[in-house]
């Protein structure tokens, strides 16, 4: 069956607009819409899997109009965002306000839009939707910490949006086009200085959302303050979409040795900062937040190894994204009580932690392994040592975390079931054979 990819965005938007009219049943309506959207995202993934990259024109043919360009990685990310969003919604069932459901749908739609759009300004618009929805969702707990985190996030996020807009304006001033692939094909015509300045602006702007090194001051506060369901949403939704946007920037628009190098060292700095800070935390949620930063650094490293190790880099990022999205979101759900009482939560928590540390045969292991291979093929031995070093630190604090959080207290079913299901994904993606084929296919279009 052929599915229009634009429905992935249009349906959540339509239902978000519809919810104020049907306030009474908004919860069940949202669940059914999220389910529908997950089914669509699965269909889109299969279509991409069969056909390769798919395009969906909106209104006019590009470069005059806008189109959606869905490659394998973005189809996978759309799947992750939508399916995980549907599963994770179960944990927020206690929220009664229909506005919460609207914001949730909008955050999902925005993150999906970032990954599937083929137009750089359209990407900015979806960044805005995602960011604004996330600010409100973070503050929805209404505790002092939540509001503090949300305000920090909002200030940095709006600065970041300004930077993105500046970068896009500079690109448009030179290329007279906003289509990513069109820009990529003609990037050599661009003035060298403007290219660099716009790259810097875009990296800075998206880096706020992607939790990169100097721009991630908001991360621990936000994850600590937000309620568990929302922290989980942030860990698989907006941050993954943003890191994918950076990948498009690096691999498609500005492919050159220097950009890869810059991204590589930013990634390494992010990784080390995140892991070392996580090791020193005493609060579980803050530890998970810093560990998220570290993982984002890993994913960025994977994306920046594309000059020699492209054979390995895309599978590496693929598995790292899957592993981090599933494991970290399930751990954030666990951090609601932070005690693994029942067998279900024990299973979920242990699987998630092992996948994050990188134990075979879970998805996290394949990610790290391909990452090592990619780094070795580029002869970046120092990077390997640093990644390994951070991996050891990660293992140490996660082992401490496991050791402390195994206990007798039970969690509510609305948290226990989603977290178990979410962490199953890192197991399933580590084992399913067709995933390997998918991961090894060329990604990001014919660039």
């Amino acid at each position: 069956m052929v599915v229009h990819a634009v429905l992935l965005i249009a349906i959540p938007l339509l239902s978000a607009f519809l919810i104020p009219l049907i306030r009474k049943i908004s919860k069940w309506f949202t669940i059914s819409i999220l389910t529908l959207n997950s089914i669509f995202s699965i269909l889109v993934l299969f279509e991409v899997y069969n056909k390769g990259m798919i395009y969906e024109i909106i209104a006019f043919s590009p470069p005059v109009g806008i189109y959606l360009a869905i490659d394998n990685l973005s189809a996978l990310l759309a799947l992750i965002i939508n399916v995980f969003g549907a599963i994770n919604f179960v944990s927020t069932l206690k929220e009664k306000s229909f506005k919460f459901h609207m914001l949730y749908l909008l955050a999902i739609a925005g993150s999906t839009g970032i990954v599937i759009t083929g137009d750089i300004f359209n990407m900015f618009v979806f960044f805005e939707i995602t960011a604004v929805a996330s600010y409100a969702l973070v503050a929805s707990k209404k505790s002092e910490k939540a509001v503090e985190g949300a305000i920090k996030y909002m200030i940095l996020g709006s600065l970041g949006s300004t930077f993105i807009l500046m970068g896009i304006a500079l690109i448009y001033s030179q290329m007279k086009s906003l289509n990513i692939y069109d820009i990529a094909n003609r990037i050599s015509m661009m003035n060298e200085n403007i290219k660099w300045i716009s790259f810097a602006f875009l990296l800075t702007g998206i880096g706020v959302e992607a939790e990169l090194f100097p721009l991630n001051g908001w991360v621990p506060d936000v994850y600590e303050g937000a309620s568990s369901g929302i922290a989980s949403l942030l860990s698989f939704g907006p941050s993954k979409a943003a890191i994918y946007a950076i990948a498009r920037l690096l691999i498609v628009i500005f492919p050159s040795m220097h950009t890869y190098e810059i991204a590589l060292w930013i990634g390494v700095a992010t990784l080390l900062m995140g892991e070392i800070a996580a090791f020193m935390q005493t609060d579980a949620k803050r530890m998970l937040a810093y560990s998220s930063i570290g993982q984002m650094g890993l994913i960025l490293i994977a994306f920046s190894l594309v000059s020699q190790g492209i054979r390995y880099s895309i599978p590496a990022s693929f598995f790292l994204i899957v592993s981090h999205a599933s494991a970290k979101s399930s751990l954030f759900l666990l951090s609601h009580k932070n005690k693994m009482g029942s067998a279900l939560t024990k299973y979920g928590g242990i699987t998630a932690v092992l996948s994050l540390i990188g134990m075979p045969p879970l998805a996290g292991f394949w990610g790290k392994w391909y990452l090592f291979l990619g780094a070795a093929s580029e002869k970046l031995w120092l990077v390997i040592i640093l990644i390994f070093f951070s991996g050891i630190i990660e293992a140490a604090y996660f082992a401490r975390y496991l050791h402390r959080s195994i206990g007798e207290e039970k969690m509510e079913a609305s948290y226990a079931y989603p977290m178990a299901v979410l962490s199953t994904f890192s197991l399933a993606f580590g084992l399913l054979p067709f995933i390997y084929k998918m991961a090894n296919m060329h990604l990001l279009g014919g660039v």
């Binding site: 540390i357 134990m359 075979p360 002869k379 390994f388 070093f389 050891i392 050791h403 195994i406």
Partner: protein
């Protein structure tokens, strides 16, 4: 198809049984050697076989839930999987690009397994032991990884089999920087084997065997099997890296010769570890940490830079 599978399963079982037997034998001989150093007679060398048989035939009444069971299974399967990836006497069973990283990860599995088991058992001594074991893991991995990367840079491969094959003409130990690196790696081996002065996690006199304190009966028997295989695996890893997997002959009966030389080599390094064990008192945990992260890491880095310099000139 089916026959292939059966053959594979048979080979795996054979590896497991052989590894266990060699390990238990070594442990028995080791007990004898330690006793001689202490000027005692010591148990016979087959004592460990008897111990394991006895423990496995015992009935276990105490259980701490499925995580506790899983932890042990986890550790044993991790160490068995590692064994399959290590070439023995130059004969490789499984091999792929980048399996050196895989083995490093696999070697960390048992520690995590024990952390899980200890967490599930709830014994405070086990908790202390696990914390120490994790700090030890943290300590010795870093210098070890640096030496491993020095090897990878020199031989330009990321698979252990590749490293072993590259050493056919000349063992790595005869190249000056790797002499230094092997000294570092040997100390890391001492930590991996949990022999003195690095037996802090077990610390028989302080915390009653640390992570393993709650294991009894069948569990203790399987634990001994795990210990036996881990001796073989860890020494083999060391020998593979620096002694070319013990490969000395290429020819008609080279398989047997190489197997024997491998056996001799791993026995030598196990004995070396035991002798160090008998001669030194135990470090405190922060001393061990400092030892590894200060002196060992510096030496390893020196050898890495030396190798790098050799490669680029």
């Amino acid at each position: 198809m089916v026959i292939d599978l059966i053959i594979k399963i048979a080979i795996l079982t054979g590896y497991a049984i052989a590894g266990t037997a060699i390990g238990l034998l070594f442990m028995g001989i080791g007990r004898k050697i330690v006793a001689r150093v202490h000027n005692r007679v010591g148990p016979p060398f087959y004592q460990n076989f008897i111990d394991v048989a006895k423990l496995l035939s015992k009935k276990t009444n105490i259980s701490h839930g499925w995580i506790f069971d899983l932890a042990l299974l986890f550790s044993i399967s991790g160490i068995l999987l590692t064994l399959l990836f290590l070439p023995i006497g130059g004969v490789k069973l499984l091999s792929m690009d980048g399996d050196a990283f895989l083995v490093l990860y696999l070697l960390a599995i048992p520690s995590l397994g024990f952390a899980l088991g200890a967490g599930a058992s709830g014994n405070p001594n086990a908790g202390i032991g696990v914390m120490r074991a994790l700090v030890m893991l943290l300590s010795y991995e870093l210098p070890f990884v640096i030496t491993l990367i020095a090897l990878m840079i020199y031989y330009d491969t990321t698979s252990i089999a590749g490293i072993v094959e590259s050493q056919h003409s000349q063992w790595a130990i005869f190249i000056p920087p790797f002499l230094l690196a092997s000294a570092v790696a040997d100390m890391a081996l001492q930590g991996m084997l949990m022999e003195q002065p690095f037996d802090i996690p077990i610390a028989p006199h302080e915390i009653a065997s640390g992570p393993m304190v709650e294991f009894g009966g069948k569990y203790l028997g399987s634990l001994m099997i795990y210990k036996a295989i881990s001796i073989v695996v860890e020494t083999t890893f060391f020998v593979d890296l620096f002694f070319g997997g013990g490969v000395i002959a290429h020819g008609k009966f080279s398989g047997i010769v190489n197997f024997i030389s491998w056996l001799v080599l791993i026995f030598i390094f196990f004995t070396l570890a035991l002798l160090i064990n008998t001669a030194f008192p135990r470090f405190r945990i922060e001393q061990a940490f400092k030892f590894y992260w200060k002196y060992e890491t510096i030496l390893a880095t020196i050898s890495l830079i030396w190798v790098y310099w050799m490669v680029i000139t």
